[in-house]
Symmetry: C2
Subunit: 333 residues, 2 copies
């Protein structure tokens, strides 16, 4: 419980607290001899700077927030890895918030981040209400959107083209000869789900079919378990020739349920997922998917955020849009 403060260090080294602070923050401003004496005192006493006091006085912290929709989804894990790498390179700590798809929980998390006076927030918003994010900005907290287009011009965003992804996925299924396609999606409150559906419809239309024929099955969550349930529903209602899932977790669940029911993939039904998580390649029938530059998404978003924080004058807001890539595997052979 030895609360060693900057004063103790100062006394021990025979200097004033201000000088210790200078050693910590602007070592160039203090004479080498004194600096060494102070550093020795710091080590001897086991001094650890009190971050809150520092934040309070300096008016800003070296912490950023990361709010994701589902920490159990490898997609977000990989984003988080990219974020963490950049943040720790630049000496920032990351506070993680998992909204679990609930706007309420997301709100609570954002409030916690606001109270911590984080420098900035990286968020994959689960709803479509920009007002909450604007409120953060009013408190001087920068916001960068991850896997989501910008709400406004004076804001950075890093996204992947979901309409194009949905189109490419379904075009691939149709090119294999499928005439009836089902879309298994998560909640339609999630933007990605909506846009991938729009892309899917566009592909159906482009093939000269009726986009209204795209059968949409909405699962409550984007998990493998929900995928199994969706597959059961599809089987009960009569299977289409091909299934497009809004993410790989759903697709893996669908695949498991289909195989358990004796449905052959891809012979009876072709299947494609989205995200190309590592496990897609390793699954029972290896899963076709739409690959996204996930780790890069996290890295670049963090670089943008920290640039905005550290160089507010020269910072130029950017809207970055990646293109997803089709990875064809056994499930659509």
């Amino acid at each position: 419980m030895a609360m060693v403060s900057i004063k103790d260090v100062a006394a021990h080294a025979g200097v004033s607290p201000g000088t210790v602070s200078n050693v910590l923050n602007r070592p160039g401003k203090v004479a080498p001899a004194t600096r060494e004496r102070v550093e020795a005192a710091i080590n001897e006493l086991g001094f650890v700077r009190h971050g809150s006091a520092s934040t309070l006085r300096a008016g800003h912290s070296r912490t950023i927030g990361l709010s994701v929709i589902d920490i159990g989804n490898p997609f977000f894990t990989e984003v988080a890895a990219g974020v963490e790498d950049v943040a720790s390179e630049l000496g920032y700590a990351v506070i993680l918030g998992n909204s679990a798809g609930s706007p309420d929980k997301e709100d609570r998390n954002l409030r916690v981040l606001a109270e911590h006076r984080v420098r900035g927030v990286l968020i994959t918003p689960s709803g479509e209400d920009p007002a909450r994010l604007d409120r953060l900005r009013e408190h001087g907290i920068s916001v960068v959107l991850v896997d989501h287009p910008a709400h406004r011009p004076d804001q950075c965003a890093v996204a992947v083209d979901d309409v194009a992804g949905g189109r490419a996925a379904v075009a691939h299924l149709l090119a294999r000869g499928a005439r009836s396609v089902a879309y298994v999606t998560g909640p339609m409150t999630i933007r990605q789900c909506v846009e991938r559906r729009e892309g899917a419809k566009a592909a159906v239309r482009a093939a000269g079919l009726d986009p209204g024929d795209l059968r949409v099955t909405e699962a409550a969550t984007m998990t493998a378990r929900a995928g199994e349930k969706a597959a059961a529903d599809l089987i009960a209602a009569g299977l289409p020739e091909a299934i497009f899932c809004a993410n790989d977790l759903l697709a893996l669940g669908v695949l498991r349920a289909l195989l358990r029911s004796g449905v052959r993939v891809p012979e009876d039904v072709a299947l494609i997922g989205y995200d190309d998580i590592d496990f897609a390649a390793a699954s029972t029938v290896s899963l076709s998917s739409m690959r996204q530059p996930t780790y890069q998404l996290g890295r670049i978003a963090t670089e943008l955020l920290l640039d905005e924080c550290d160089n507010p004058d020269t910072h130029a807001h950017q809207h970055i849009m990646f293109q997803p890539e089709l990875i064809a595997r056994e499930s659509t052979h």
Copy 2:
């Protein structure tokens, strides 16, 4: 940038700052009428409490740290989900640190947590140096070990019996008739890897074989990619009849490499992993594994930590040891 402070709220509501603080922290102590007036002022002005100031004055924060070895491993993700759920139920924020297996990085993360004056730390230590954790305790930061036995009696720990797990896994392989077994492990600096090996040796010995015959292949990281490489080495050196992998990520990599080389699983080689991550059941050949109560690990560790923080007087330190469970699937049929 409107920095609304407690003083502004006080002025707006016609009370003193102390009263506003009471409304925030001990609403019972203030008359209903005044409370309402203050709450109205808070909403009207969009006041957000400055966490750093609060932490500084109160001497403690409502934040805990979580330090894991590999955030990309679904095992830790699920632990993190348990941690996050409990923490957010009790109004705590979680700062996540990913050591990526490097003790250096872990040290840096712990330093960040110490500076933030987190209330406590949950950690799956990547090395075996208790001194660093003791240093945290000296700063008044409680520590609970996750998936690791306690270093000392006055400390909580939640672990799973890795020796028993290793023994059960290899006993299962031997019961299927395998005479030669290889152990594909991560770095031997990781305790889990060592103990699972001890268990494996015990099982070999119990079967009347020479424990020295357990072939050990050490991978640099516990990832699927490292597993693929380990499998290549095994193939080059001559395959055993069965392979036990220290976790499912390694096992999935081994499986992928074996199948690609035309080795049949389980006909030519039986394979078992560890952790029973979700994807084990969904893989090409469904993977046998040792299941651990992962989510519970995170939940219980957090409950212990927060109990230690919130009720230091009545808190009783606990060492909890779960038993893993064998899940047999196709890969060991």
